[in-house]
Symmetry: C4
Subunit: 385 residues, 4 copies
């Protein structure tokens, strides 16, 4: 109970700080500082004064992570996800990050050794990262061919190290004294790392070594080819899923047939933008148009800026006529935009003339409205003059 | 005859063990244990006691492989494939694995040397592995461009090593004493392994070495590009062949035209699942639906779980409306499922409205049935109360 | 004012030289000479006479860059882009290239040290290079997955170096004396560079090292796969944009529907050719035809060469019948050509029979005209004989 | 004249040998022997007897190449290509291969030094190799992005080596004594070769080195991505061109519309087969069918084998029903086959029902004919019995 109250008080006191403090940016910053301090702390020639400061810095980072983890647990508990959160990998990382170092101190480790456990903080990089899920899916999709390449790798590893052991042990009894030593040579060579701590010196050893190196290139090539194929498929799939729901929310596309919507979904790219970010700068060359799936942007047209909300589009003028942007556009709210590239715009309007007509009409309406507004202002200015 | 009987008796005695013992999992386990023991056995500083235990362990592994090979041969013989089996590469691997070590002992090799022949056990990784066939096809398909890259590689190898031999032999008469030595330098450099046992020290040698390294990157890039292109083509082809026959067995697709079936075949992914595996967990976000090509699954709906057999589909509700799974689904038999991703589901139903109608109708029917069942149960409960 | 006049005078005096001098070719040449001289200047064993010559050469290069930068600034100012130019990165590179070395001399640096700042000249490679923008776009497009791979890389880096520090520091207290040393080992190993200055020697260290190396291959593969996917998408997009405007200027394509123009745009490749360059050589095998988007070419037909201007096409005869080129074609002006490959030509004319008819008709007209001209000449020759 | 006669006489005398001797296989064999002998000849510890034998062997190889080159020149002259041949790169390689070593002897080089010039023989690998042209086209197509990556590489090379020179020269005055030394370090590191002859030892040097290595991976990735993209495009284009002419020669496809022919061309793969090669083996699983573009095959059906010539197809039975091949098929002449994979066969017949009907009808006709023939033979056997 006291613990819960304490967190509550801290939460209130740090309210102004929290917006920054709880952001992932500041978490990354603390992570960078903490890991640098931990790294520096292991240097044996460190002067005492520096060690004191680094220790203080490390305790601050640990404190930050403790509070941060507690706050996140509270947030999850309030949202009713307490059980899910406590069973998640993310919570395990939080716990290990906070308790590993104190436990090491409790067991009597010296300070530099205890702080070595701060290395676990690096695992926070993997928390809440959608990119890891995507990479993971690529490995799952391509598990079978990757396993085959690994099997091939292991076969070459064993056969070549046995061969090298037999060939070289007579002339280099120290370097190739046993199979584990020969396996070390083989893995260093097959991955083309090549430390040079063990090098064949007989002619036959050179021959076997050369073949192993060339196979190293091939295994590089195979695994890269597999990962590239899987990644391309996964990217295409993920873009579609991310975009699909947004597309159906843009009224402009609702008049289209389902098959056309599918086609468009493959062309659009999603972009998340915070507020007060310039999307388009006047005078730059434009090669895409934007649809607003959520949020709001402001178009800085003279005399009165115009605000466009969800469902609207902008930037189409640069694609229809001259390619130079005619006005600045800035987000006023955190927004989700859908980007349509020039190349896809051409393809789309070529296949769907009605879409082109609609965009043209809207663009025409805007230009006219803009001119009328200026005209009216000019008249107003003249009248008031 | 005695030999055949002995196998028969062993087969009967080990019947309960066999289901596990003959599985590829246990074979891999024995392989790992055997190769580790063999590797440890070559360490010269090994205490005598450990050597005895490792030797025993190795004999056990050899015995396992002998029995396993014999059983497989008997199975093949019973199925009438005796001739094919005895001529196959797989049988050769079996024989070599079993007899190589005893023969080495017969010829008077010391124990560590004799057990070195256990390295051949690693070849068992290649037995019955469909992945190797796939990789092999990629090499066959891309044989010509790969041969060109290899020819380019060999040309650069010879020209650069001759140049380096001429350039460096005056200042490093030991390291670059002959063309074989220079060739070794060239292959170590071209593959970007870079042991550092032979390094050019003249300015001209540095220049030639730099060019060779950059060419090494290019040859990496070329071979990877070729393998990636070939692998993508082969993956697409293999998926199609694996899926085609299954698709034609799902009644749901039989009403479609041949060209649509081809299209669907390119979209579906095959998944082999053992029995009692959870396919869908309630509450998770769903991004695909499943067609049952073979086997059976159980959908845990209250009050009575429903079983779906070959030809049925499930998981479509998460794609039609809310994306959260509403029930657990578990296999009751080893099953072959066809997975349709959300992205492809959208494309498919957009192009084939009748397919969408059929899925909608079936989904609607299930929801209604489910409600009626609950209603009836509620009434039943009320009546019995 | 005096400065401006001086530039003006220099500009007039060097007028004949400028056409060559201001070209990017000569800039690259001066760059190569300057950087080579700077590199040679740092060699400690350099004889005095050579140092004097190299110094003179370096001052000349600096002078060239100064004049070149001034001229470019003047050109920009005249075109009214003064403000844009002075705020551009390109101008910053110009300024740094010119003033870095003199400032170093002012602050009392020795000659070899001062000239080290000439290394900044290499940044001129990035000026006005459209290729860099393309590579930059690939990184922007694929920022998220690349960041994930980098995060994975950093995680493995820290975890493996902490592990290696703990494992190896007891037996190699010098090599693995601190975490920074272990991190250096990890980055050298993860990138498969493998200097060999720090090498694990314990069995456990070998195991961790092997895993790190294999993960190095995987991180190579992932980043390559991501970059390859992004590059393929970006290439397709850029080609389309570059070609689209040109296609709409070729009258031949204007009769086509918008959707067909989109299709053709994807097939065409742009080629910029200076004047007096041979596009087609008689007797070579032809596998593409050309459309002239801008410029002019001369077809060397007997007796009178024919000139073709923007909008015309040539090289189609080799695709229609015999594949051998029947005449030389050379540009007479700097030209922009659109190349249509044989494969795409077949696809295009198969899908658009009217296009094929138009090309056939034009080709037929040319052949006939050609024959008539020869006939007339023959008659003229006969009459004059 | 005498020279010409001499070649004529040699040509006649060696007539039986020539068919083998002039084949590219035997040329490759002589090349391998010659280069091995040359390599061995440079070993300083070679016994005298071996040197004599190797010298003899090398003279034989040189003689072979001289005769081979002269024969090729004569062939070209007879075919009227004399001028083209004498100006070709291939002829230059022939001449250099033959005269380099004798000239070196003339100028008084020792035997091992003179034979070093035999390294030029390796250039024969590039003669008449269509694969090199394909790789070359990839480089031409992707010249711009590759140049950008190279520019980036050179920029990082210079900037990092200047930085490393400044950082490390104080503590390692020998290893980083000048910019050329630092550049050597940079190229060894950027290509991830990592000899380890020059290694940064300061903290700052480690940091710069780490960044350079990571950039090395990126430059690997970029160049591989570019080459992979270019290679995929080039492969697709080349396959189409090679296949197109053959497709139009198969009567079976002539009834199709041009757009369908284009589609089929993209599906077919070309295969050149010498005579007496087994294409299909009875009992194997079949996943493709074959069209004969040129040549002849024999289908071993009982009782009378059937011969199929250009325009016919075979192997379709395995795709229509059971997937096991029912007869051996062997080429009787050097043949050009077009392979249609199962996946593409399905797609094709789905989109072109008439094609499927035609194949079905032909397959049915063959089965019937086959049965009738057997029936007749059975009756004949019965009558003669």
């Amino acid at each position: 109970m006291i613990f819960k109250d304490a967190i509550g008080i801290i939460a209130q006191l740090t309210a102004p700080l929290r917006r920054f403090g709880a952001s992932s940016l500041s978490r990354m910053l603390v992570l960078a500082v903490g890991l640098s301090a931990m790294t520096a702390y292991t240097v044996p020639t460190l002067p005492n004064a520096a060690a004191v400061w680094l220790g203080a810095c490390l305790w601050c980072c640990l404190g930050y992570f403790a509070v941060d983890s507690a706050l996140r647990a509270r947030t999850a508990a309030r949202a009713g996800h307490a059980r899910d959160h406590f069973l998640s990998l993310s919570f395990l990382v939080d716990v290990v990050s906070v308790i590993a170092v104190p436990i090491a101190f409790l067991y009597g480790a010296t300070a530099p050794n205890a702080w070595l456990f701060a290395t676990f903080w690096i695992l926070k990089l993997a928390q809440n990262s959608p990119g890891f899920a995507q990479l993971g899916r690529v490995f799952v999709l391509e598990a079978k061919p990757l396993a085959s390449v690994l099997a091939l790798f292991v076969m070459v590893l064993f056969l070549s190290s046995a061969a090298m052991f037999v060939i070289e042990r007579a002339v280099q009894p120290r370097a190739f004294s046993s199979m584990p030593q020969a396996l070390w040579w083989a893995v260093v060579t097959l991955t083309t790392t090549g430390y040079g701590d063990k090098v064949p010196i007989t002619e036959l050893g050179h021959l076997v070594g050369g073949v192993v190196m060339i196979f190293g290139i091939v295994s590089f090539g195979l695994s890269t080819g597999i990962l590239a194929t899987g990644f391309a498929a996964e990217t295409r799939r993920r873009n579609f899923i991310q975009t699909w729901d947004l597309v159906s929310k843009v009224p402009f596309f609702q008049s289209l047939e389902p098959s056309s919507i599918t086609e468009i979904t493959h062309m659009l790219r999603r972009l998340e933008v915070p507020e007060r970010v310039a999307i388009i700068r006047r005078g730059k060359v434009g090669d895409c148009m934007y649809f607003i799936a959520a949020g709001e942007v402001q178009v800085d047209i003279k005399p009165t800026p115009v605000r466009l909300g969800a469902g609207a589009f902008f930037g189409e003028l640069a694609l229809l006529g001259d390619s130079v942007r005619s006005a600045n556009v800035t987000t006023t709210l955190p927004s989700t935009l859908l980007i349509l590239d020039l190349a896809d715009f051409r393809t789309l309007t070529a296949n769907h003339p009605d879409l082109k007509r609609a965009i043209d009409a809207e663009a025409q309406r805007r230009v006219t409205e803009n001119q009328q507004m200026r005209e009216r202002q000019r008249l107003g200015d003249a009248a008031s003059a």
